[in-house]
Structure formats: C-alpha cells, structure tokens
Symmetry: C2
DNA sequence: CCCGCAGTTTGTCTTGGCGCAAAGAGGCGT
DNA sequence: ACGCCTCTTTGCGCCAAGACAAACTGCGGG
C-alpha cells in the first residue's frame, strides 16, 4: 500500500465505472514516477515491462524511420494511459515515448494490465474506447497526409494541439507545452523551414503570436480557414 | 442452427484457442452472405449493426474526405474479421467497406461481439491482437506518408498487396484481386497518372507485368530496391 | 462484330515545398 | 555581461509530382 490519494484517479473518465474500493486496489499497486522535459519513458523495441497513466504533463509518442527521420505519432494529454500496446498483443513497445513537458505518472507492471482488464469490466470498455479513439485519430491523420497540402496539415495540427492542451491567456489560446517548428514538422510530415514560413505568414496576418517554443493562437477562426 | 460446416472456421488463427463446441455455438449464430465485386458492405456513419468474418475474397476499407477524395485505409484478406469497431467503443462504422472481389462472409449482430469477447477468453486475445496488428499497419502507413516519396510508397503498397493476397503464376506473383491505377493511387496518396508512369517504368525494366486491373510482380527483389 | 466506356498511357506545363545556406535572436550558464 | 547554443527566419534554386489534356486500348454488351 502506498500513500496516494484516490482523488487522483476518481475524476478520470477512465475510472468512472469503478467504485472506490476497486480504485483503491488499483492505486495500491501503482508506483508513481516523474519525467523531466525531454526524458525518454520507454523506447521502441524494448520489452514492454510497464504501462503508464499520465497524471500531469504531456507525453509525445514518436517513431523513427530506418533513415533516421522522426515522426510524431501522437500526443498523450494528462489523464490518459500510454504504453498499453500489450493489450493489443504486443510484447515490445511499438514506439518511443518522450516527455514533452514535466510529467507525473503512475506505472504498473504490464502483466497487471491483462488482469485489470478481465477483472474490472468497466475499465476494459474505457481502455478499449481510448484505443478506438486513437485508431480514429490515426485514420484521420492518414487521410490528411494523403490528401491535404502542408499548409492545411499544419493548421490542423495546431488546432488539434490547441484543443487538446490549450489554455486561455489574455492574448488567445496557448499550446500547453513547449513546442518547436521542428516538432510541428515532425507531426505533419514536413520540414522546419516550411513550418517556419507558414507560422511567420500567419503571425503577419494576426492569426497567431509566437516566441521560441511557444505558440499562442489569437484567431482560431482564421486558422480553421487555412485548414480546409 | 444452420448448416454451415465447422471446418470453415476451425483452421482460422482467430479461433485456434476455441474448442469444437464453442466454434459450433458461434457458427450457429452466424448468417452467411455474399457480396459482388464493388458492392458496399457498410458505409461510414451508419449504425454498426453487424460485424463480419471474411471467408473468401477481399474487402477494401475506404474513407472519404469532405472534398470527395477517396483514401483506401486498408485491405482485409480472407480469414479476418472486419466491421468490429464497436469493440473499440464506436456505435457507428468509422469507414466504408467495399468488396474488392467476389466475397463470401459470415455476419453476426453487433451485440454478440461484446458477448463473444467476454465469454470466450481465447477469442478476445485473438481479436485484440488483430486490432493491434492493424494499429501497427496504420502507424507504418503514417510513417511512410510522412517521410517517403511517391515511388517508395507505391513500391511498398505493391509489396504489401503481393504478400497479403499474392499467388504464384508462371510469370511471377500476381495480386489476388482486380486493382486499378486509381486504386493504387488511393492507397498511396498520389494520382493515377503518377502511378501509371511508375508502373510503366517498372514494366520496361522487367520488374512487373501488368494488364488492365491485373498486376504480376516478376522481380520482387527489384521492387524492394525501389521501396527504400 | 462493332460500339462505347472504363481504364491506361504519355506529353507538357506548373508549382508546392524541400534542400541548401547563411544570417538573426532569445535564453542560459558561468 | 558575455558568449554559446539552440531555435528561428529568410532567400534562392530546383525537382518531384500534381493538373490538365488528349490519344490509345481492351473488354463487355447489344
């Protein structure tokens, strides 16, 4: 038993169908951990020993091509599980996870995942629902990459980031973690040069404001127009 | 009870962990159905009433952009389930399914899927394993679209088709169902013109042979070279 | 048998966006 | 305060591949 508070987990949609005792049991088996910005949580190909619940921060899931190009597969917002590929029959991690901000997580040994899923009916629907959500995201991503131009893809990426992680400031909505042009290019299958040009143009027309590693969307509506 | 033979299902990897009685039970609840080439099995957005097991033929899963561009998300080879998105929390089909060849299927009402998954432990690992496989495929697809050139993507698509559906002929390995340049362009995020040019070039150099709607890969090794 | 259509091929023109290069510019450590 | 390092901006040339156009060709149907 550890001294974690149930109030950490209770508000999460994932656990909404479980009662206090069940949450307590799951929580007691968890080990908390922290990751600094840029730290690697696990790497593609490693034996999948643990799965994680992100309590605070943002995690980036990336893949590398044999040629060394990096592609950002998705961003995990807080409150979500990651590293759960074992639930889909993998024994090794299929991608690398990097902390995109200071992160606080809980982790469990992977073999408990199978156990939790069969024991707690309500948890399994939540987990597989989350998987379904990510499958749909990936599907949309494929659609975008296959049919849209770079400008539209970048606009869409920003809108998605703003929606998932944005918080209001007096200037507009700011993306919740430090992000570079390079990062955005890796999310959209482009280059940092092209992304920089686009952001500059959008800044000139008053759609966004940006400093290094920080982007504030001042006029989401204009951005939407660039995305279609 | 219907007059289907257990030998239909027994050899499938999906059912390898089930005993004869279990297979019999599942089979008795199935209704068989056929689809002609080009027929739509279900459409994106429809209420997901049934899920399917493809016994023979090939099914193509496609998505449409708001602008009307079509993208082929994946091909289902025989022996695999499709239309199972409800297992991932969806109540409507997230994509459209079209018969890419003459197809023979079994179908079950969707609510039985939940039941099967909880009742037959062995089935659920198989089903979720298949989902995991498709997630990985999609991930690789994203990687390709984001980093590779059209030539490499087309070569990869052909290699995948050959591997999944190919059968030997005296000239080489033939793709198992009729496929057009347009189809290939929709699989790779390109245009039929560019695909046509590539295939012509490859035919000239002796890598493939093709007639309308038919492609035979005579030299897979050369194709591999184009894919990297 | 011939017509018509769906699918394919090829040519030419245009352009989005990548590669390369080099010069700013903000933040951080000492 | 200084310099370094990382991130960003911008210019220029070029090429892959899309857009447009037009001709060609099997195949199926009447």
């Amino acid at each position: 038993m550890n001294n974690l508070d149930e109030s950490l987990l209770t508000p999460l949609a994932l656990f909404s169908k479980l009662d206090r005792a069940q949450i307590r049991t799951i929580l007691d088996l968890a080990t908390p951990c922290r990751f600094d910005l840029g730290a690697t949580v696990f790497e593609e190909g490693q034996e999948a020993e643990f799965f994680y619940l992100l309590l605070d921060g943002y995690v980036r899931v990336v893949r590398l091509t044999p040629e060394g190009d990096q592609v950002i597969a998705l961003h995990i917002p807080s409150g979500h599980l990651f590293g759960i590929a074992a639930a889909l029959g993998h024994t090794t991690y299929p991608a690398t996870s990097v902390a995109a901000a200071e992160c606080v997580c809980l982790s469990w040994p992977m073999k408990l995942l199978q156990e939790f899923l069969t024991t707690y009916e309500g948890l399994s629907t939540g987990v597989y629902g989350a998987v379904g959500q990510r499958v749909e995201d990936m599907n949309n991503r494929i659609l975008e990459l296959a049919t849209q131009q770079v400008e539209q893809r970048v606009a869409n990426a920003l809108l998605r980031l703003v929606q998932q992680t944005g918080h209001k400031t007096d200037e507009g909505i700011e993306i919740g973690f430090p992000i570079t042009r390079q990062d955005i290019s890796e999310m959209t299958g482009s280059t940092l040069h092209t992304v920089s040009r686009l952001l500059s143009a959008w800044e000139r027309e008053g759609t966004i404001k940006s400093t290094r590693k920080k982007i504030v969307v001042t006029d989401p509506h204009k951005l939407v127009r660039h995305s279609t």
